[in-house]
């Protein structure tokens, strides 16, 4: 039995019953004592391994409450070429990069590029099927947008994925077509992700396993000991099992199975000692603010970005992904089966619709502790937060939108008033909601410290602050990536704080985040990560 004693530095328990203890004792992967050093020592045998923190801070392992680690490996790992605006700043540069890749491609090789961005590539055009055919006549080629929701294909790509004039558009998906019903090459929503599977499959399993190992490593290097696989699909299981079998340092995974129909069997899943389990169901109610398919009460702004790069019509207010009754039937089915629901909602009109539905469902099948989750919640209004609170609905905010796209959100998409309450985490907390924050990897990189910084400063890349009133204090920000995130995945009794009987999942930070300026929180070095009392990563 492995026993460890931690002492010698600030211990931030995130548990109000144990503030500033001297030491923490761990035995057999669980926390057995939190308190004075003497008590902690007494709870262990003489063989316990003593770890002097030497002034560094011990915290509960971080929890990112909405992520896609396996899907991130598929989406971003090699041979996918990263063309996000950070490294490929313009559309012209992006096309140049694609041409150079095509020039060294094997005949028939599947080529995929990730990161086209209507908001951040200033000269962006919609890459047409014809343009891509000209560049790559002999290779299936796909360009995925950085928000993951849309994909541009050439003819070989459409053919390889079986999309032609006669292909019926699945409910909830978009296949853009010309007047003769011929696909233009642009597809969006669920069809994007099923189409991409053809590319991933063509590259084989070894690539994916290696990519997954790299992605998992990124999470633990950032001190994340638990995360979710939102949009889990049954065939994912083998990769997680493989990781556990080979003893990879993989965070605990709460799976949320993707539903696109109401007749799906949600898999019961429980592996290891809380290493992988089925936590609930994920359904998209609407899409991405960055491609225009979210449902709003007030229209988008009208400018070059919205009208040209995003190709929206004046007065555009978007729509739902699915016909409303189809969506409601899905939610009703899985909710009545007792699953926790996590519903992707960005536009305020979408949120109205979902809250109406929750109210009906709770009358039909009352459930005291349903923890119905709304995901991302970009344009949620204050009255909706109040209503959500009354219904027991909780929100997980994709706060990194502000750091990554804050400028365009204010200037090009929604204007200053809506930008000041975009991802309204502060209002939700003021109304008494237990919120979580997420990076939605692969959309943004996994880092709980970056989430904290984003929620505390709401500062965009260009230095502007979007809505000072919505900023969180450091303790609330910390809770939203530890104990409140644990609450949102239904694991607050086992994870999320340094408390007796919980799993011994920790992160050691070089300096104390409670005493660090908000602007510098993301720069704190992660020293070590522990999962079930075992050190799974150390920065040496």
């Amino acid at each position: 039995m492995t026993e460890i004693l931690f002492y010698g530095g600030p211990i931030i328990t995130v548990d109000s019953t144990h503030i500033d203890p001297e030491a923490v004792a761990v035995a057999d992967g669980k926390i057995v004592c939190v308190g004075s050093r003497l008590d902690a020592e007494k709870s262990l045998s003489s063989k316990a391994h003593c770890i002097d923190l030497e002034g560094k801070s011990l915290l509960p392992g971080f929890i990112d409450a909405h992520s896609h680690p396996l899907w991130a490996a598929k989406t971003r790992g090699a041979p996918v070429v990263d063309v996000r605006a950070e490294t490929v700043p313009t559309y012209a540069a992006l096309m140049g990069k694609i041409k150079r890749r095509v020039a060294v491609a094997e005949p028939g090789e599947y080529l995929l590029f990730f990161g086209l961005d209507a908001q951040l590539h200033p000269d962006m055009e919609s890459p047409s099927r014809e343009t891509l055919d000209e560049i790559a006549p002999n290779n299936p080629i796909g360009i995925q947008t950085s928000n993951c929701h849309a994909l541009y294909l050439n003819s070989a790509g459409l053919q390889a994925c079986g999309i032609d004039e006669n292909f019926e558009t699945p409910t909830g998906s978009i296949i853009e077509r010309d007047e003769n019903k011929r696909p233009t090459g642009k597809i969006a929503e669920a069809i994007t992700w099923s189409t991409l599977e053809y590319f991933y499959e063509a590259w084989g399993d070894i690539r994916l396993s290696e990519g997954f190992a790299t992605t998992v490593q990124e999470f633990v290097e950032n001190g994340i000991t638990t995360t979710t696989e939102h949009l889990y699909m049954p065939f994912y299981k083998v990769y997680f099992q493989n990781a556990l079998k080979h003893g990879w340092a993989m965070p605990r995974i709460a799976a949320y199975q993707q539903a696109t129909t109401s007749d799906m069997a949600v898999e019961s899943l429980s592996e290891g000692d809380d290493r992988l389990w089925m936590a609930g169901v994920k359904i998209h109610a609407d899409g991405s603010p960055f491609i225009g398919n979210i449902w709003l009460t007030q229209p988008y702004l009208e400018n070059e970005i919205t009208l040209h790069r995003m190709d929206l019509k004046p007065g555009h207010t978007g729509s739902l992904n699915y016909p409303q009754d189809y969506f409601e039937e899905m939610v009703r089915t899985y909710f009545s089966q007792g699953w926790q629901m996590t519903v992707h909602t960005q536009g305020d009109r979408t949120i109205d619709m979902v809250l109406d539905l929750v109210e009906v469902l709770l009358k039909e099948t009352p459930r005291p502790d349903h923890r119905f989750r709304l995901e991302h919640c970009a344009l949620m209004r204050e009255d909706q937060i109040e209503r959500a609170k009354e219904l027991g609905v909780i929100c997980s905010f994709f706060i990194n939108h502000i750091t990554h796209w804050g400028g365009p959100i204010e200037d090009a998409l929604f204007g200053p008033e809506r930008a000041a309450h975009y991802m309204p985490a502060g209002t939700a907390v003021k109304k008494g909601m237990r919120i979580s924050l997420h990076a939605d990897t692969p959309m943004t990189d996994p880092s709980a410290l970056e989430l904290m910084k984003a929620s505390m400063t709401r500062t965009a890349k260009d230095g502007r602050c979007l809505g000072q009133d919505e900023c969180l204090d450091v303790m609330t920000a910390l809770k939203s990536v530890t104990i409140d995130a644990a609450f949102q995945i239904g694991m607050e009794d086992k994870l999320g704080s340094i408390s007796v009987e919980k799993h011994a999942d920790f992160v050691i930070l070089e300096s104390n985040p409670l005493e660090t300026d908000a602007a510098n929180i993301a720069d704190i070095k992660v020293v070590s990560t522990y999962l079930a009392g075992e050190r799974i990563w150390h920065n040496d």
Binding site: T87, V88, P89, A93, G96, K97, R101, A519, N520
Partner: protein, 316 residues
């Protein structure tokens, strides 16, 4: 939290693959230092620190980062060391970091954030040295890595350009200019270029100049420097537009500005590549607005600048 007993050191980073000419550039900077003192951090893979031995400066100003890549494990040492220099009794004029050939230049960002936040230093110029002769012989992965790294630089030097044909040089130039549209791309031989393009000159703050326009022909005739000064206030919007225009033609500009919407506040202006930054220096109403620009002689049209500079002044 700006430490009162320290000065903010400008940091220059120099990146590039092995053999591109980084050490040559460092030595060139040192030889043209005009009395300025640089502290040089040399980063070298492997146990024998070859680059360290090649840097021509006094021993105590040459710090080698052995057995590691400056982008990851050594960040903390770097931050501590630079902070110490900034608060020392005789701080240097600038810090030069020669990054290892393979490190991702973005990985240094968190160190710079910490240094800027502590008030010890600020990132002045990021230079990337590219071996123009060797580039064509690289495989796809290596050449793309170079392109990605060049994007993160303010100034990209296509070095050893004398060793390839004009046709190849033009192809390379258009490839890099297209891929790194926000960087200045310069052709060099032996990394020869004026030091003022790389290191900003803070020394004219507070000095009253008599001339209102001046043009200094650099010792290398390719480059020219132009400066101007005015007691009038400057219209902020017009200035932003002016910067947009002249940033296409000059490599480097530095200045102090007083805007009409905030007349008491002195603003420090710094243009590196196409990256313009503005920083409030506090209430110093006695100082006039000053601007210095450096650019290539053949494309810098001084008449256009003069007219532009006149147009941005608010007539009281």
């Amino acid at each position: 939290m700006i430490k009162s007993n320290s000065i903010r050191l400008p940091i220059i980073t120099i990146g590039g693959f092995l053999g591109a000419g980084k050490t040559t550039l460092v030595n060139s900077l040192l030889s043209k230092s005009e009395g300025k003192r640089f502290v040089v951090f040399v980063n070298d893979f492997g146990a024998i620190n070859i680059d360290h031995a090649l840097i021509k400066t006094v021993e105590q100003d040459r710090i080698s980062l052995k057995n590691g890549c400056v982008c990851c494990s050594l960040n903390e040492d770097l931050v501590k060391s630079i902070s110490n220099f900034s608060s020392s009794k005789k701080p240097p004029d600038a810090v030069v970091i020669e990054a290892s050939g393979v490190s991702d230049p973005r990985a240094l960002d968190s160190s710079f954030n910490m240094l800027e936040a502590s008030g010890a230093a600020f990132l002045d110029t990021r230079v990337y040295v590219l071996d123009a002769e060797g580039f064509g012989g690289l495989n796809y992965e290596d050449s793309e890595l170079i392109v990605d790294h060049a994007v993160a630089a303010d100034l990209v030097l296509l070095n050893k350009c004398d060793l390839i044909t004009l046709e190849k040089l033009n192809l390379l130039k258009s490839l890099i200019s297209e891929s790194a549209p926000y960087s200045n791309v310069q052709e060099t031989t032996h990394c020869e270029l004026p030091i003022k393009i790389i290191l900003s000159d803070n020394h004219f703050l507070g000095r009253k100049r008599n001339v209102h326009f001046s043009e200094v022909i650099n010792h290398e005739e390719k480059y020219t420097q132009w400066s101007c000064e005015t007691d009038s206030l400057i219209d902020r919007d017009s200035f932003l537009q002016f910067v947009n225009e002249f940033s296409q033609y000059c490599f480097r500009s530095k200045g102090f500005l007083r805007f009409s919407d905030e007349p008491d506040e002195l603003i420090s202006f710094n243009l590196v590549g196409l990256r313009a930054s503005y920083e409030k220096l506090g209430k110093r109403p006695s100082l006039s607005s000053q601007l210095v620009m450096i650019g290539r002689r053949e494309i810098m049209n001084v008449e256009v600048f003069k007219t532009g500079f006149n147009d941005i002044q608010v007539i009281c």
